[in-house]
């Protein structure tokens, strides 16, 4: 105890020197806080810019210009007993004629028919098939205008630019203007964007196929990677002996996270499609490939979360005679759940936005109807975006942004559930 005499009075924290030092420490503290806040603000601002630019380019896709046509379903053209195979092309031609009653030049009518969407026949056929009673009646119907005119209405194609720099010439525009003057043109909410399947015509193209496809693929991905990821993580963290082998496994899993996603696509192609003979383009295969990607993420994050549970909790449970499995199920997992959910959120978010591997297994197909199950051909939202982003038609520019917004909406709903759970389950100990 001889040493203790060395010190006589405590150094005063109230001294100037200490105060000065403390000011510096506080400054450091404030700097840290400031940097933290700045980092968050930067990140959120960038997200804001990103979303802002998407909304700016995409909002136009949420509305669509429609034209009101008068349709007469001539029983000559459409057989009441077999409405599916009627001559709807002629019905539409007739409607266009009604649209321009005074026109008799076939060239003008031809131009006029181009105002109405190409899909008008299909719309009509679906209506009549759904309700054969329409045969023989005349009614008015709002159908989308074709893309160039939609762009004209939205001001993307400018009327005052020189004619040779326009997608529509003066004659076409004036024809369209006659319709506008007669009040037949109206801009409405574009529900087709959500409820239609894909089409090569922007005015008809919708995301329902992609949404359903993404949903199935993610469902499969979640059902595989969530339980498997947690199970693998638990095994590696809690049960596996700590030795060279488990080190190898750990490195291996970390490494899988760095494998470019397209390589998983290659693997999926080789194993699931070529070896197991599963169908191409199926959400089942897509989900399985995506789960290969999310699996490492979930495993790594779950392991970190398990590691963070203090040993005293485990000891306490073991001490009252809980088996290792019970300790994990009853105590460790519940405490690790917030972390696990974070991993799942991020992993699935990544899977939702992933394009490259889906290209290889054919989930970028052009499909005009949504898939009926996980074995049927489907697309996914990111691949749909990828396809639309590469389409020449002007209408797809806005629709691409809109599709991205829809994807983000999908993402946010998906995350909201997990985040809600996470907030409920989080606790400090």
């Amino acid at each position: 105890m001889a040493v203790s005499t060395a010190q006589t009075t405590p150094p005063r924290q109230t001294s100037d020197r200490a105060a000065q030092l403390r000011r510096r420490r506080y400054a450091a503290d404030r700097r840290l806080k400031f940097f933290g806040l700045a980092a968050i603000v930067t990140a959120i601002a960038l997200l804001g810019i990103l979303l802002g630019s998407l909304i700016l380019t995409g909002y136009q896709a949420f509305v669509q210009t429609h034209v009101t046509i008068e349709v007469a379903i001539d029983p000559e053209l459409v057989d009441r007993d077999n409405p599916a195979s009627g001559n709807y092309r002629a019905v539409v031609a007739d409607a266009v004629q009604r649209l321009f009653p005074e026109a008799d030049d076939p060239a003008v009518l031809q131009e006029g028919s181009r105002i109405v969407t190409n899909g008008a026949q299909v719309i009509l056929r679906n209506m009549v098939v759904g309700n054969p009673g329409l045969v023989g009646t005349t009614f008015s119907l709002q159908v989308p205008v074709s893309d160039p005119y939609d762009q004209l209405t939205k001001g993307v194609i400018q009327r005052d630019s020189p004619e040779n720099r326009r997608r529509l010439n003066d004659a076409q525009i004036s024809l369209y203007e006659t319709l506008e003057e007669r009040g037949l043109i109206e801009t409405r909410a574009n529900w087709a964007l959500l409820f239609n399947a894909d089409s090569r015509f922007p005015e008809l193209a919708g995301l329902s196929g992609a949404i359903v496809g993404s949903f199935y693929a993610l469902l499969v991905c979640f059902l595989i990677s969530f339980p498997m990821g947690i199970a693998a993580a638990i095994y590696l963290e809690e049960f596996a002996p700590k030795n060279r082998w488990t080190d190898i496994v750990e490195v291996n899993i970390n490494n899988l996270a760095a494998v470019p996603s397209i390589v998983f696509g290659l693997l999926g192609l080789a194993v699931f499609i070529q070896l197991f003979g599963l169908p191409r383009s199926a959400p089942l295969v897509g989900g399985m490939v995506l789960s290969l990607m999310t699996l490492p993420t979930i495993i790594i994050v779950t392991r970190a979360a398990l590691k963070a549970v203090p040993p005293s909790i485990r000891e306490a449970a073991l001490g009252v005679g809980a088996s290792k499995h019970e300790v994990i199920l009853h105590h460790v997992l519940p405490l690790a759940i917030p972390g696990i959910l974070t991993g799942t959120i991020i992993g699935l978010a990544q899977a939702l936005g992933e394009t490259a591997p889906l290209l290889l297994i054919g989930m970028n197909a052009f499909l005009t109807s949504p898939p009926g199950g996980i074995m049927e051909p489907a697309t996914a939202l990111p691949t749909q975006i990828f396809i639309w982003a590469d389409s020449p038609e002007r209408g797809f520019v806005a629709r691409t942004s809109a599709a991205i917004l829809v994807l983000l909406g999908f993402l946010i709903t998906m995350n909201a559930i997990a985040i809600y759970l996470r907030a409920r389950l989080e606790r400090r100990w």
């Binding site: 720099r165 383009s281 052009f366 038609e393």
Partner: protein
């Protein structure tokens, strides 16, 4: 598993055209075909994987099938294939409307984009950084050209159609033979002015809109859709438009194909009908919907030949081609 719909794979360039046919075909009340864009090479690989319901029926190609691919096909039992030429795709060189009008010869394009050029009879690494260095009448702005990567069929077509012609204009290069000549004529520069911009043509379009000095190389349909912001560069004095491309006076256009697996005809429901729809007048004719999408139609005679090929299911043999 049994399959009742057609499966189509292949080139992303043919994709929009096939897409249109698929949509029409479906609207006619047929089972909807499944169409994927895999790239020509990827498509060939899957297509040639074998005969049977697990393998696609049709593949689109922005270039003819190679010898190696043909052999692979035959090795896998896909020995009866029909090659169908559907039309041409124009490649446009374009830039922002706010830029000056440009009229380039193929030789000048070569000078701007090749890795090596001839200067004073010597073959040297491309020294040109500014357009005005190539021709004083050109604007004094840096050469910036966005173009397709070497893995793309578009790039190949561009090299063959423009660069090869361009290099003929230079005696020292023209005098070269074989590999040495290829080395000079085929290689695009990688020192900056030529920027390989990926397969997304819309992206190039948007970058051109943002940068009035830049030129881009991409499919004609993108130029057509963006006439208000982009304008074409005339090649050898000819601007690309439907007429010049269709007549073949515009020098930069390439053929598009699709291949049908004949063994699947009569087994896969609708395959024959689909192929016939593809080559119907309503589709790839001069007023057909493919033309609306930007396909440059074949001449009347060629269309007849194509239709006959499809109807007969004419066996195509790579060796004889």
């Amino acid at each position: 598993a049994a399959r009742d719909q057609i499966r189509i794979v292949g080139s992303s360039t043919v994709f929009p055209y096939t897409q249109a046919v698929v949509e029409e075909f479906t609207n006619m009340g047929n089972a909807a075909p499944v169409l994927e864009s895999t790239g020509t090479g990827g498509g060939m690989r899957i297509f040639c994987g074998g005969v049977g319901v697990d393998h696609p029926d049709i593949t689109g190609a922005s270039r003819p099938m190679t010898q190696g691919e043909y052999e692979n096909c035959v090795a896998n039992g896909v020995d009866n294939v029909t090659e169908v030429l559907v039309g041409y795709d124009g490649l446009s060189i374009a830039h922002s409307v706010s830029g000056p009008d440009l009229d380039l010869t193929e030789a000048q394009i070569f000078q701007a984009l090749a890795a090596q050029v001839e200067v004073d009879g010597e073959i040297v690494p491309n020294p040109y950084q500014n357009w005005s260095e190539i021709d004083p009448s050109f604007p004094d702005s840096p050469i910036v050209v966005f173009g397709p990567p070497p893995t793309s069929g578009t790039r190949d077509a561009f090299v063959e159609l423009v660069m090869h012609d361009g290099c003929k204009a230079f005696p020292a290069i023209d005098a070269l033979e074989g590999d040495a000549r290829r080395d000079v004529c085929d290689r695009m520069r990688t020192d900056g002015p030529f920027i390989e911009a990926g397969e997304n043509d819309n992206l190039i379009v948007q970058r051109l809109q943002a940068d009035s000095n830049a030129l881009g190389i991409f499919g004609y349909s993108f130029l057509y859709e963006n006439q208000d912001t982009l304008k074409a560069v005339a090649v050898n004095g000819i601007e690309p438009n439907e007429q010049t491309i269709g007549e073949g006076t515009y020098p930069v256009a390439r053929p598009l194909f699709f291949y049908i697996k004949n063994a699947h005809r009569g087994v896969i429901p609708g395959l024959q009908e689909f192929a016939e729809e593809y080559v119907s007048e309503n589709s790839f004719g001069p007023n057909g919907y493919l033309h609306e999408r930007g396909l440059i139609t074949l001449s009347d005679a060629d269309r007849e030949t194509t239709r006959a090929t499809v109807a007969e299911g004419r066996h195509f043999d790579r060796h004889t081609n």
